[in-house]
């Protein structure tokens, strides 16, 4: 499986940095308040009058009003109000800082969440340059990214802790999230809104790469699937087209054009299968195709019964989709 960062406290971009700053401030304020409350409690306990075990309980306090502690109560209320106001101000400033990220020359992505995978469309000014992928987002370092977020079925939430805060994807609405990755690396993302039985297995990866490597990757993604070599891969493609695979998946450059499941044009170039559920190895791919319900119960992919040779051919073909 991919080795990726998934850490709110280790920001690798300005947006996650702002969120971390607010988190640190809130933690500091809350720690001070917590310590002060405990100290006050301790003082009150130590100063309380104690009676001996045998003496009658002193009920005299019931008869008179509470002793004058007005000054300390007023001071505590004032301090709480000020600290809360300070946190509100910090939150507003963080929000403004998040909104100030420059989006000049930004890369535009459209992410649609499905139960339980992520559809990713790279939107380029030239329609012919746009392309689709799934569960794996490559971005160039240092360049802002504008992600348009949509949901296909239920509410999901897009969250890459090392790069930005969460943003909900709500069916029928469009949200946007801007971020920038300043250092190259692999950052793990995860659906952060409970969305059904496989919510936990709905991960994705953001791969931040130097611009020239990103450009090479994007150019490769724009290519359609090539003609497979004679023999096993050719047979595998035939099986793909003739079985239930082609009913849901698309492979650009072939007659399989369904958009129900993830686009598989460059399946073999991706690190994981089924939204981070399995490593993308021939063995796991085979296991996944043979019985997805065993790997990810409830996922919308039925088992495909194939003979051992047919499965080898199919997996062999899918391995060529780089």
């Amino acid at each position: 499986m991919m080795d990726a960062l998934h850490d709110v406290l280790a920001p690798f971009g300005p947006q996650a940095g702002h969120v971390r700053g607010l988190w640190t401030l809130t933690l500091a304020v809350c720690t001070v308040v917590f310590a002060a409350v405990l100290a006050a409690l301790l003082v009150a306990l130590l100063r309380a009058q104690r009676a001996g075990a045998e003496s009658a309980p002193d009920l005299s306090s019931l008869g008179r009003p509470e002793p004058g502690r007005r000054r300390s109560v007023i001071a505590a209320v004032a301090a709480s109000t000020l600290l809360l106001l300070a946190l509100i101000a910090a939150s507003i400033f963080t929000d403004r800082a998040l909104a100030r990220l420059s989006t000049d020359g930004a890369l535009r992505l459209e992410v649609t969440a499905h139960q339980w995978w992520w559809e990713v469309r790279y939107v380029e000014p030239q329609v012919a340059d746009s392309f689709m992928t799934a569960n794996e987002i490559h971005v160039p370092t240092g360049r802002p990214v504008i992600v348009t977020l949509k949901a296909d079925d239920v509410i999901h939430s897009f969250w890459v802790p090392s790069l930005a805060g969460k943003k909900d994807l709500i069916p029928g609405r469009t949200a946007t999230l801007n971020f920038r990755a300043d250092r190259d690396g692999i950052y793990r993302g995860q659906c952060a809104e409970f969305c059904g039985s496989q919510h936990a297995l709905m991960a994705f990866f953001v791969l931040a790469e130097p611009p020239e490597r990103y450009a090479a990757w994007a150019a490769a993604q724009r290519r359609t699937a090539g003609e497979p070599a004679e023999g096993q891969p050719l047979r595998g493609r035939e099986i793909f087209m003739r079985s239930s695979c082609a009913m849901c998946h698309a492979i650009d450059g072939t007659s399989a054009q369904a958009v129900r499941g993830p686009n598989l044009t460059h399946l073999a170039s991706r690190g994981t299968l089924a939204a981070g559920s399995l490593a993308n190895t021939p063995e796991d791919l085979r296991r996944w195709i043979a019985d997805p319900q065993q790997v990810k119960p409830g996922s919308y992919m039925p088992a495909t019964r194939l003979s051992s040779e047919d499965m080898d051919a199919l997996v062999g073909y899918l391995q060529t989709l780089r």
Binding site: G196, R242, C248, R305
Partner: protein
């Protein structure tokens, strides 16, 4: 010593409940062997009646069903699988949740191409003119029988104890098990 009447009544209720529970045996029994009529056996073939097909249009004939889907409709597991497949294979894309959309409704009493399991099976395998794709070969016959059973449950053709009583996902209409049977009016438009 006499058994207190309350305890006797309790035992009787328990015995009755246990014997009732036995009635539900085999309701969800699963077959892990592919049913015989799925295996290659000489069976009449029929041409596809729709050029619409996933990916490349196939011209090979489809095999017509042997029998009437026995063993599928009286098994809650198979009907429930059919319900999942209905969603997974996006039947809802055209037929919605049975109310119809681009394709005809499936919860009413109108069956353009017949309401019998074997007829529904052929409709899915061969396709039908004006839009219904031919799924023969893309789906296993097992899956087509499961889908057939579920499609028939949508208009209350199945027994209440095997029709689905709940849905895995959002469903706007009442559970299939709670629907009244729509007497089939074949050919009605």
């Amino acid at each position: 010593m006499r058994t207190p009447p309350l305890r006797m009544a309790g035992t009787a209720v328990l015995a009755l409940a246990s014997s009732l529970a036995l009635c539900a045996c085999e309701r969800e029994m699963r077959r892990f062997e592919t049913p015989p009529d799925n295996r290659a056996a000489p069976r009449p073939e029929a041409p596809r009646t729709s050029a619409l097909q996933p990916a490349e249009a196939r011209s090979d004939p489809v095999r017509l069903p042997a029998g009437n889907g026995e063993g599928y409709e009286d098994n809650a597991y198979n009907v429930a699988q059919g319900k999942r497949l209905y969603r997974w294979f996006n039947c809802a894309g055209c037929h919605a949740q049975g109310g119809g959309g681009m394709g005809p409704a499936l919860i009413d009493d109108q069956w353009r191409y017949g309401s019998e399991p074997a007829q529904v099976f052929s409709t899915i395998m061969q396709g039908r003119p004006n839009g219904m794709p031919s799924f023969g070969g893309h789906l296993s016959e097992d899956q087509v029988w499961q889908l057939t059973a579920y499609v028939r449950s949508m208009s209350g053709q199945l027994r209440k104890d095997t029709a689905p009583g709940r849905a895995d996902a959002l469903q706007a209409n009442e559970p299939e098990a709670a629907r009244d049977r729509e007497p089939a009016r074949p050919g009605a438009k």
